[in-house]
């Protein structure tokens, strides 16, 4: 506790002395930012608190409007329309990552066409991985390993070198048990993440999938902050044929989820899919709330068998910090990578798995119910490196 104490004192002293002085000086000279009219009523305030900057949830649904969105009243019709689509086989990485492939292959083709391996080749490989958001540390590690191997094996050709990189990435990403664990009675799968990554939509898709597999599912509308989050989840529940437990808007998420677990236990549902409000990992109080949610979810009959962090594929290096904070608060068991059908490559999950050992379990490749598929390291890496 010593260093902490010292730091506390230092910070305190700096803030009290420096901060006050500074504040006074500033206070006189420049008035800082126009404080917009913060006259929001308390009530308004609390509502505002969550809708935040993002509109998380819905996010993925934001597609064609056909699926999720159908205004509530019309609800039946769109349902019918959505169904036909599923006919299409579940998406594959390769099909969906077309865009990512093109961008990446630009660098790799010069690696291949050059033939020989030289310093530039290594630079280009590094560039390709960094552009995919793999991050410096993991990129360096991967390439170091490959370099040693290439030396050992006497690889002198660009194409063969790429194969080595692919193998290295596959072995780092692969070999994980990707099944979503059960064994609770009921099992609780908790979905967490920052705002706007697609938690609610992910839950909707998993509910559809599990119900189709003949499971009995209860959804817990644990996002009590965002105005329409519960409504959105309710629509998914109806569509999937799952039960849903909702609480009052602005209510305590822990108790909503607790109630859902109890209700699931009473009704013989096997799995509870628990939604939570999006929260930035830097907000201590919200992260504490999340820890509590996780604890309380196990107070009754259920067991939390999965805590999944939902990450948006466009996320950069901050994703690693997110994963670190969320796992500290809620003990992550896996990652769901969403929006991989855009131009972003989602390489941050390589860093997350490599540095924190948290595996990617599911990938969102589109907006349809069937576009959430199990992660496959080989396909993921192949698709990234596919030069066709």
């Amino acid at each position: 506790m010593d260093p902490v104490l010292l730091i506390v004192l230092i910070v305190l002293a700096v803030l009290v002395v420096g901060g006050t002085g500074f504040a006074l000086l500033r206070g006189r000279g420049t008035d800082h930012m126009p404080t917009l009219d913060p006259k929001v009523t308390d009530e308004a305030d609390s509502i505002l608190t969550k809708p935040k900057a993002k509109e998380p949830v819905t996010v993925e649904g934001a597609d064609t409007g056909v699926d999720v969105d159908a205004p509530v009243e019309v609800e039946d019709e769109p349902l019918v329309e959505v169904e036909p689509e599923p006919e299409a086989k579940p998406a594959t990485f390769r099909e969906r990552l077309g865009k990512a492939r093109t961008t990446m292959s630009g660098y790799l083709s010069s690696v291949i066409s050059r033939g020989d391996v030289n310093a530039e080749t290594w630079d280009e490989l590094e560039e390709a991985l960094i552009r995919a958001d793999v991050g410096i540390k993991s990129t360096t590690e991967i390439l170091e390993t490959v370099r040693t191997k290439a030396d050992d094996e006497g690889v002198k050709d660009g194409a063969a070198l790429i194969e080595l990189v692919k193998d290295e990435m596959k072995s780092r990403l692969g070999g994980q048990d990707l099944t979503l664990a059960e064994g609770g009675d009921p099992s609780v799968w908790l979905f967490v993440g920052v705002n706007g990554v697609g938690k609610t939509t992910t839950i909707g898709k998993i509910a559809s999938r599990e119900v189709a597999n003949g499971r009995k599912i209860t959804l817990a509308a644990g996002d009590t902050f965002r105005a329409a989050a519960a409504e959105q989840l309710t629509m998914w529940a109806e569509r999937a044929g799952a039960d849903i437990v909702r609480g009052a808007e602005g209510g305590d998420p822990s108790s909503v989820i607790f109630d859902a677990v109890e209700s699931a236990a009473a009704n013989g549902a096997e799995i509870v899919l628990a939604d939570t409000a999006g929260r930035l990992h830097t907000k201590t109080n919200l992260m504490n709330e999340l820890s509590k949610v996780r604890r309380v979810a196990e107070k009754g009959a259920g067991t939390v068998t999965e805590t999944l962090l939902v990450i948006d594929a466009t996320t950069g290096q901050n994703g690693l910090i997110q994963a670190r904070q969320f796992t500290e608060a809620a003990d992550l068991t896996g990652v769901v990578l969403t929006k991989l059908d855009g131009s972003a490559k989602g390489g941050i999950v390589v860093a997350v798995q490599n540095e924190l050992g948290i595996p990617v379990k599911l990938v969102g490749l589109g907006e349809g119910q069937h576009d959430l598929i199990e992660f496959n390291a080989d396909d993921f890496v192949d698709a990234l490196f596919d030069t066709n």
Partner: protein, 484 residues
């Protein structure tokens, strides 16, 4: 956490001290570090290349080799380049001579368009405008309801209808005319930049509205892909500016720099929190420090201003300097600090904190324990900790559930700090030369309120100096005015 650039440069340049000139390889090494730092902050690869190129040009010129403190000098160069790249012309929103002024919001899913539509509306409203918000996001189930909820909170009407986004946009023009609204802000559905169909839709909306301003709303956490996204939207819509969201997290926001470089349009606003008024004009220099991981002292100060009771803090500061600061004061000020957020995040914002300090994981629980100890003391003990003997110590430990050693540790450290502060406030300046000057400033800053507006540089020196003195930290990071 990442080392700050400053730490790294110190490593590189430390061994050179006294050697005088910098060799080209020294500069190369520094540039490599800069490159890494920028990439870690999610600045786009191409952008990093061109930036590093520019920095190299200045660094190899004699600017660097003449500098007394090359590591400080190079950080300054980097900061200047970044600020320059981020800044350019500040975005001035002007309202159309012939109303309505039309604003179109576009971006990926989940970037924060709807919320920021309301934030922008609120800002314009505070400038006396009659704003109409238009809900053209018919894709996301609750988007329009969300906008209406926000509209109610800020008392701005929302127009939408269950047709299609392009028709809604068209009809909104009529609606604005009929209801005498002079600003229209149109929210649109999130779309992937590679979704041709939806990009065409937003292009049509733009055609119908002919907006005066088109803003791309982009998440500060975005990675390398930010450039692709910005380019696509720019090609389709001809952007006028960018709104950077989720800056209240700890993302370093390199994406903003990339976007600025690629589309050449300014970052107009930054969204810095969940509340509707947490929306502000964008400050390039703050983001520049942030991208470099150098702390964000301005933000820290603002937080402090918001959290601290001014008078109380002022008195506490004075007592601190005079050496009459008690544990009660400590307790009270600790409460204020807690309002600013977790201690860890505050330390992250302090520039120049040495690595050892930043690396210590501080749990707020540990702070609570300190509080528990103090709360278990009598008023007398708090005012004068020296009376705490073994028996008192035992009682305090038992009361707070801690060990007696913890109690002694707190008392000892507290005394140390007091001594340090006293020296800082009263004692003759250290041999450093800067000391006296700054000490005077500090005291002026801490006490009087009647002097004319101080130059902005002063407070930062003061802040730096207090850090410097208190923890004997070096603060090469910030460009300091008295730094030749």
């Amino acid at each position: 956490m990442f080392d700050t650039l400053t730490d790294r440069f110190d490593g590189i340049f430390g061994k050179l001290r006294g050697k005088g000139k910098l060799s080209e390889s020294d500069v190369d090494e520094a540039l490599r570090e800069i490159r890494l730092a920028l990439l870690e902050a999610d600045v786009n690869f191409e952008v990093v290349k061109s930036l590093v190129g520019r920095i190299r040009e200045r660094a190899v010129g004699d600017e660097l080799s003449k500098a007394l403190n090359p590591s400080q000098q190079i950080v300054k160069i980097v900061l200047e380049e970044l600020t320059e790249s981020l800044g350019g012309e500040a975005m001035q929103v002007t309202f159309a001579a012939k109303p309505p002024t039309i604003v179109l919001m576009a971006g990926l899913q989940g970037s924060g368009k709807t919320t920021n539509t309301a934030k922008l509306a609120n800002l314009f409203k505070s400038q006396g405008r009659n704003v109409l918000m238009v809900g053209a996001d018919l894709a996301r189930p609750a988007a329009v309801e969300q906008l209406r909820t926000l509209g109610k909170q800020i008392d701005v009407p929302v127009f939408s209808e269950a047709t299609d986004p392009v028709s809604v946009a068209r009809a909104s023009l009529e609606e604005a005319k009929n209801t005498g609204r002079d600003v229209i802000i149109c929210d649109t559905a999130g779309r992937l930049a590679i979704d041709e169909e939806l990009m065409e839709e937003v292009r049509q909306i733009s055609e119908v509205l002919d907006p005066q301003y088109t803003f791309l709303v982009i998440d500060a956490m975005t990675g390398q892909d930010a450039v692709t996204v910005a380019e696509s939207f720019h090609n389709t819509l001809a952007l006028d500016g960018v709104i950077l969201t989720k800056l209240d997290g700890d993302a370093r926001g390199g994406a903003a720099l990339s976007v600025k470089e690629v589309v050449g349009r300014p970052i107009a606003f930054a969204s810095t929190g969940e509340k509707i008024d947490e929306f502000e004009t964008f400050y390039p220099d703050r983001l520049a420090s942030r991208i470099l991981g150098m702390g964000d002292i301005e933000t820290l100060i603002e937080k402090a201003e918001a959290a601290f009771e001014e008078e109380e803090a002022e008195e506490a500061a004075q007592r601190l300097i005079e050496g009459t600061f008690t544990l009660d004061d400590f307790l009270q000020q600790m409460q204020q600090i807690k309002k600013m957020g977790s201690l860890g995040s505050i330390i992250g914002m302090l520039p120049g904190m040495p690595k050892e300090v930043r690396d210590v994981e501080i749990e707020d629980k540990q702070v609570d324990r300190l509080e528990a100890i103090i709360r278990s003391m009598t008023t007398e003990e708090r005012a004068n900790p020296s009376i705490i003997d073994a028996s008192r110590r035992g009682r305090i430990a038992a009361g707070s559930g801690m060990k007696p050693q913890d109690v002694s540790a707190l008392v000892t450290q507290f005394n140390e700090m007091q001594k340090m502060m006293k020296k800082f406030g009263m004692a003759p300046p250290k041999a450093k030369g800067k000391g006296r000057k700054n000490k005077k400033k500090k005291r002026r800053g801490g006490r009087t309120t009647s002097k004319g507006p101080a130059p902005m540089a002063d407070p930062s020196v003061l802040m730096n100096e207090s850090l410097d003195e208190i923890s004997s930290l070096r603060l090469p990071g910030l460009p300091q005015p008295d730094d030749e």
